[in-house]
Subunit: 247 residues, 2 copies
Amino acid sequence: MKRPKIEHLVNIILFEDREVGLPLRRDDHRVIHMLDVLRRKLGESTDVGIVDGPRGKAVLKSVGDEYVELEFEWDNVPEILMPIDLVVGLSRPQTSRRVLQEATSLGVRQILFVHTERGEPSYATSKLWTTDEWKRLVRGGVQQAFTTRFPRIQIGVELADSIAATNSVNTRICLDNYESSLGLLDAVSSAESIVLAIGSERGWTDNERNLFRKNGFTLAHLGERPLRTETAAIAAISIVAARMQRG
Amino acid sequence: MKRPKIEHLVNIILFEDREVGLPLRRDDHRVIHMLDVLRRKLGESTDVGIVDGPRGKAVLKSVGDEYVELEFEWDNVPEILMPIDLVVGLSRPQTSRRVLQEATSLGVRQILFVHTERGEPSYATSKLWTTDEWKRLVRGGVQQAFTTRFPRIQIGVELADSIAATNSVNTRICLDNYESSLGLLDAVSSAESIVLAIGSERGWTDNERNLFRKNGFTLAHLGERPLRTETAAIAAISIVAARMQRG
């Protein structure tokens, strides 16, 4: 079997609420995963969840040529997402793909992909965004993290609008390795909500920095080394999450 | 031009000490990068460095059909690498590729790829390791980070040997989301050296956990969510580095 380029383990198979109790088509990709990848037999179970709902087990009750029946047993409801809003510059599709998956796996509650002065307008018209590809990547990130919680995704937002949209968040941080002398860990205190802005690969302009400053953002850095946007996103979310979890 | 799958910005062009002052072949990949990608003209300069040495500028002095001459001006010597040794389970090549690049970019001083009980022996014989591919990836990570410092890489080490090899490091942490109740940020104190062990995608066995415990490792976690090995590596290095830099 050919592996997709960026692969996530399917640690949990997700269903919509309205699907529960109904037969599933034999060619449904989740049925194929359960029968042909996990090789479950009649009476055996696998980890499942309802989108934004509980997690549990599905037992294989019947397998026909056209339809399959599952019996669900619900166990618990996964933790809510972390109160972290990520504002990130629209980047090359391969970079945005990784940001979508990894920020989702790490558990942020919202990702706003914004236009930046140094980004390319063409990034927003990639097939990543014009097809359902981005939704599959988010789902992959949720499944990797063994949860049922989906972050809210907004695409092609103006930077000023993203700042206005996160106005109620009082810890506001903009990553900037050029003008900041404050390490990210020192810029974050304990369990609050946080908006974290990360530029596209060529960084912020002075205009953009000023807009952030005027709106109560603190500039913070991740050390001296220039990092790729997706690496910076994983690093920054992880540091903020570790600080928040510490309380 | 076809882009490689995982791309790093070449923020600095690296040379060996012995190359300085000698003409370079026109078909050298660094000359091609300078002339054909960066489009430097005679008299123009670009950022360069000597492997494990200083950083500076190279001015294009002459361009012939076969050879090119550069004039170097040295500026400063990059910071030494962080005293972080990464012990990581040999994983699928695509995972190991990302660990190599990203851990290098983040600035760890050593990466030991170890055999684990749940890893596949075939991982160690991938062309990633049997060709020079791994060296190119490390170089890419160094260039991304705008430095000249190369981490030490060891491949196919036995877990017990990696533990012995890092015996002088007194803060020893093994990431384990199953049996640990201590968050990584709480397991690390300020500016010490640290060895950080991260399993391959299927995690550690009880045998391996016991080996870690017997050798003074503390088990720590990154939260409840299962993460991919490469994501866990970036997250863990970033948290430890942020804590160390704080002092």
